[in-house]
């Protein structure tokens, strides 16, 4: 049975899509974490468990053998959904388990190593400057929709060698999977089919006209043990890069700007002590971690006293883990020069976000470019900021004013 209305007992009946929770999940996460039942359970949205303590989330992430990645979306797809020719396309390596996970991941890791993503720095900075050019004279902008949302989609499109003019379509497809589609299976399936249909065409194009220095061409030519990888695998990697690389980074950029809009002392600190940028970025990632992943329990097991059954869903709340006072001093405070920060915004263990170095680069350049051009800004109406949540949390409308407007 699924409850309706706002939960009254979050430990036994949480709702990750409850509007108040989406707007500010941290007090609820803290209440669950400090209760005598820090691994919460809910029957809502297909049922799931939700560990909230850092050590428990990390332990589950490390136990990939029990907590598998057969499905990583926080709400299960409806049974009997028909995907036709794309039924075999997943999103490797995020949806892979060992042993295949090893080569699925090793094939793409060099593309995302720090030294490999450095080549996107200049292009990303130019992109950020162009976006700011569009609105700087008006004295007002939507930091989420006019800026944050516009950046990662173009970086990923450039990486994949797909048309930049399709940025708005890509964004709407990804929101269809990760945002609107989370609670609307029809939209999720339609969006998935659009993404895969698009990449099917891109693969056919590269097979007919291979390109130099082109990621999709290189993926198609990849050999593992003398065998060319399957096209389903290449489609899956493209699918992952689009779906995982856009909403997530855009949410981190948006949340950080939302924070900075309300904290002039932090803007000043970054201006006066630029050497703290590296720790500041990690701190913003910790405090506003966007991503919650799911795992599927492989076999009946007991986890922290909870009887979990094969097939149960476990929500990996990295945002809750990153606010655990057992791991972080003053966890609800943003301390830009925090010295000790073992945050897990990018996960933990074998599924550590493969794109983390690219995400960091985008976050750094987006924030630095913004603060250089717009050193002072504030929210026009804090109550008018809207958020998306569930799987990926970040502001979707966040209007700020600056200059003399």
């Amino acid at each position: 049975m699924t409850a309706t209305g706002s939960p009254t007992d979050w430990v036994t009946d949480y709702d990750i899509f409850d509007p108040d929770f989406v707007r500010d999940p941290y007090p609820t996460m803290s209440a669950i974490r400090e209760s005598n039942c820090p691994v919460a359970h809910s029957d809502r949205w297909g049922g799931s468990w939700m560990p909230t303590r850092y050590d428990d989330v990390v332990a589950a992430a490390q136990e990939y053998d029990i907590f598998t990645s057969r499905n990583i979306i926080v709400v299960p797809p409806p049974t009997g959904q028909v995907e036709g020719p794309y039924a075999g396309v997943a999103a490797p390596p995020i949806t892979s388990d060992p042993p295949e996970h090893h080569w699925h991941r090793r094939t793409i890791l060099p593309t995302f190593a720090p030294q490999a993503v450095a080549k996107y720095e200049d292009g990303t900075r130019a992109l950020c400057n162009r976006l700011i050019d569009n609105f700087i004279d008006t004295g007002q902008a939507d930091a989420a929709a006019d800026y944050a949302q516009q950046i990662p989609v173009r970086v990923i499109a450039a990486m994949l060698g797909v048309p930049l003019e399709m940025a708005d379509e890509f964004t709407s497809w990804v929101r269809g999977v990760l945002e609107i589609g989370l609670t609307d299976p029809k939209v999720r399936l339609e969006s998935r089919m659009k993404i895969l249909g698009f990449f099917r065409g891109q693969l056919d194009d590269r097979k007919a006209n291979p390109r130099e220095d082109d990621l999709i061409t290189e993926l198609l030519n990849t050999q593992i043990d003398g065998q060319r990888v399957s096209e389903d695998y290449v489609m899956g990697v493209c699918n992952l890069m689009l779906v995982a690389g856009i909403d997530t980074t855009w949410s981190a950029i948006g949340s950080s700007l939302w924070h900075l809009a309300q904290h002039p002392e932090h803007r000043r600190q970054l201006r006066e002590q630029p050497e703290i940028w590296p720790t500041a970025l990690e701190e913003l990632l910790r405090a506003y971690s966007p991503v919650t992943m799911a795992r599927i329990v492989d076999r009946d097991t007991e986890f922290q006293g909870c009887p979990m059954h094969a097939g149960d869903r476990v929500l990996m709340s990295f945002p809750a883990a990153n606010r655990d006072p057992r791991q972080f001093e003053k966890p609800d405070e943003v301390i830009l020069d925090r010295e000790k920060n073992r945050h897990v915004a990018f996960g933990s263990g074998i599924h550590r976000c493969a794109g983390s170095n690219l995400a960091r680069l985008e976050l750094r350049i987006a924030l630095q470019t913004w603060l250089e051009r717009i050193p002072d800004f504030d929210l026009v109406d804090p109550t008018a900021v809207t958020w998306a949540g569930g799987q990926v949390r970040g502001p979707r409308r966040c209007v700020v004013r600056f200059g003399n407007a």
Partner: protein
């Protein structure tokens, strides 16, 4: 000071290289490599910070014996 990274634990978060870029770097796959071992005196604080920021607890620091 000696410093080592356990390759079985490191999953390439790169937080060591952020905290101590003169001590830690990245291999072709983005996993941590030690750039300088032993660690020169002026990098000791950074190396300790790297250890304190590794989410996988993959870094071990061996402090010099007190003279």
């Amino acid at each position: 000071m000696r410093v080592t990274v356990d390759p079985g634990k490191c999953h390439g978060h790169q937080m060591c290289a952020i905290a101590a870029p003169a001590v830690f770097g990245s291999d072709d796959y983005g996993n941590a490599v030690v750039l300088t071992d032993p660690v020169p005196d002026e990098q000791h604080a950074a190396a300790r910070r790297a250890e304190a920021n590794c989410p996988e607890r993959a870094i071990t620091i061996e402090e010099d014996a007190q003279a």
